[in-house]
């Protein structure tokens, strides 16, 4: 059936995306009229839930927004509240927080690469097919994920929704001896991560170069994860405090989620943005792995995001090992954060991209207002644009193949739609 025959394709489930959502593509006379990603946003609910709660509660409450990246929510929350209160925990606490965040990146990237993304490149419907034919590969992915979980458990108290972090630092800081056993597990994970890069580099990647502006956190000293200021591929630089000056959210008719623009333009956050802006700050091992995998200093092909994630995986495993080797136990484990009336801003690099929090609190520490901008909402417009381009370029494909390509296109961005939606369904309307 040709694309202009007035066919209507509806796919009821788009699997292997965190959470749920819906996609509608409309084709008229062989031209893609629109590609709309419909998402519904729990962060909006959490913004309301946070009003009236104490400033100390923000990290714990927002951690519940996402089961995959709770540390990202905790981090952006404490950065924002500490900014409002004028408190900067010491370098030892900052290092332990970075280690915790590395654990989340390890776990999240391993999950996405092996369980969600790799099946696309190898022709499997899901990870079950991959596991049946390539058991050792899936075992390797789960082994890496387990190493990340071990870091989360040891530093955060548990792997899901860590309970040990608190505003100002940690309830209890682990001893050097308690962290030491992690190193052995992480050394094995480093070998596994390098093998992951070499494995995914052998996949076939459709040609596609994204034109969007890229936006990521940046630090002059290290690859930015848990802190930094913002830098775009076009050279725009600003701090978290000016985030809302440049990033503006607006309503779109097809979604209850807000979409964001950067100075009025569509933009992209996440691995491609981080790598393109800061690849020179990766470790030597990670840079060498990237070169071996055929990556240059920048990467704008979203299908190659699986390679970038694998390179980042190498980096964060090695970084976790470095942080453990250099660990000095913070004492006290947390800085006191007495409330100060004012507004604070925090932004960190969730595995999927930038996550921004803003809180206004009163002198008693009561939260007066909260704003949370998750990565998937920021990327939504770029994802829609890429879907439109992909569909336009492949209108000759039959419905099943085109739907599959749309699913792959969405998964390139590892959308954490549980940050943004509750139901995922794809419908294509071709007339």
């Amino acid at each position: 059936m040709s694309a202009t025959d007035g066919r209507h394709l509806r796919v009821e489930a788009l699997a292997r995306i965190e959470g749920e959502g819906a996609l509608d593509v409309v084709v008229r006379d062989g031209v893609v009229e629109s590609a709309s990603l419909q998402i519904y946003e729990p962060p909006r609910f959490f913004e309301a839930l946070l009003r009236g709660r104490q400033h100390t509660e923000a990290p714990d409450i927002t951690a519940r927004i996402c089961g995959i990246c709770p540390v990202a929510y905790q981090t952006s929350a404490w950065l924002a509240v500490e900014d409002a209160c004028g408190v900067t925990p010491d370098a030892r606490i900052a290092a332990l927080r970075r280690l915790l965040y590395c654990g989340e990146w390890i776990s999240s990237h391993a999950l996405h690469i092996y369980l969600l993304h790799a099946p696309d490149f190898l022709g499997y419907d899901d990870v079950l097919g991959l596991a049946a034919d390539h058991r050792s590969k899936v075992e390797r992915g789960l082994r890496i994920k387990k190493a990340g979980n071990a870091v989360l458990e040891r530093v955060g108290g548990r792997a899901v929704h860590p309970v040990n972090p608190r505003l100002g630092g940690f309830h209890r800081a682990p001893t050097r001896g308690e962290l030491a056993p992690l190193a052995e597990q992480l050394r094995r994970a480093l070998d596994d991560a390098l093998a992951t890069v070499w494995w995914v580099a052998t996949f076939d990647f459709p040609e596609l170069e994204l034109p969007h502006e890229l936006l990521a956190l940046h630090r002059p000293d290290v690859y930015a994860i848990e802190a930094g200021s913002l830098l775009s591929s076009g050279g725009l630089a600003f701090t978290a405090r000016d985030f809302s000056e440049h990033v503006v959210e607006h309503q779109v008719p097809h979604s209850t989620a807000l979409q964001a623009t950067l100075d009025g333009q569509r933009y992209l956050t996440g691995p491609l943005a981080r790598y393109t802006i800061s690849s020179g700050l990766l470790s030597e091992t990670a840079r060498q792995a990237a070169a071996d995998a055929g990556l240059g200093a920048t990467c704008r092909n979203p299908f190659r995001s699986i390679v970038v994630r694998a390179v980042e995986l190498v980096y964060v495993v090695e970084e976790a090992l470095r942080l453990i080797a250099e660990y000095e136990r913070p004492d006290p484990p947390a800085a006191e954060v007495p409330p100060v009336a004012g507004v604070g801003h925090g932004v960190s690099e969730a595995p999927r991209g930038l996550l921004y929090h803003r809180y206004e609190i009163d002198a008693d520490g009561r939260i007066l207002s909260a704003v949370i901008v998750p990565p998937t909402s920021q990327n939504q417009a770029a994802i829609e644009a890429d879907l439109a381009e992909v569909v336009s370029a492949h209108l000759d494909l039959d419905d099943a193949a085109l739907t599959s390509l749309c699913e792959r296109t969405i998964r390139n961005y590892d959308p954490c739609i549980s940050c943004s939606t509750h139901f995922l369904r794809l419908s294509m309307d071709r007339r």
Binding site: A15, G19, E20, P42, F45, L111, L116, R135, N149, S418
Partner: protein, 156 residues
């Protein structure tokens, strides 16, 4: 029975109303302090299930479920070994990372499965945003705890 390697896993999000029934049940079992019984809570049926239940002689998974037609608060006991995967596939409440059926099958493929898996699925009335259960699910919690305790050979 030997409870030395038994695990009770509650799945769900306490900020999604009745979806929190799994974690609430796990907390209630933990409070019983049964020797040899581990408890865990997960936000969804993620791959973390595999390492949580691997090697256990018995894994009990508790999750919320939506059914058509709906009878909120009704408790379904599903034993995949006895009934096949068809019934189990009906239990996931939403499309998270893996369905419970996929997690069980992946566990079998990778040798990360429990010797026996029992699923308790509680029909939800309200999976909207917020804390606290609907009246029907709130009322079902004592019966659910009794059922799980009996499964553990420990009548409550």
């Amino acid at each position: 029975m030997n409870l030395s390697d038994t695990v009770v896993v509650g799945i769900g999000n306490p900020y999604r109303r009745d979806d929190g029934i799994g974690p609430a049940l796990a907390d209630a079992v933990e409070a019983l302090g049964l020797p040899g019984v581990r408890t865990a809570t997960l936000p969804a049926t993620t791959s973390d299930l595999l390492h949580t239940w691997a090697g256990a002689s018995l894994a009990i998974v508790v999750d919320a479920v939506r059914c058509e037609p709906s009878s909120p608060g009704r408790i379904h006991r599903v034993h995949p070994g006895a009934t096949g995967s068809t019934e189990l596939s009906a239990t996931p409440a939403s499309t998270h990372e893996l369905s419970l059926e996929q997690a069980a099958r992946l566990g079998e493929l990778l040798g990360l499965e429990p010797a026996r898996l029992v699923v308790f699925a509680v029909e939800a009335a309200d999976l909207g945003h917020g804390e606290g259960f609907s009246p029907a699910v709130e009322a079902a919690l004592p019966a659910l705890l009794r059922a799980v305790a009996e499964e553990l050979g420990q009548p409550a």
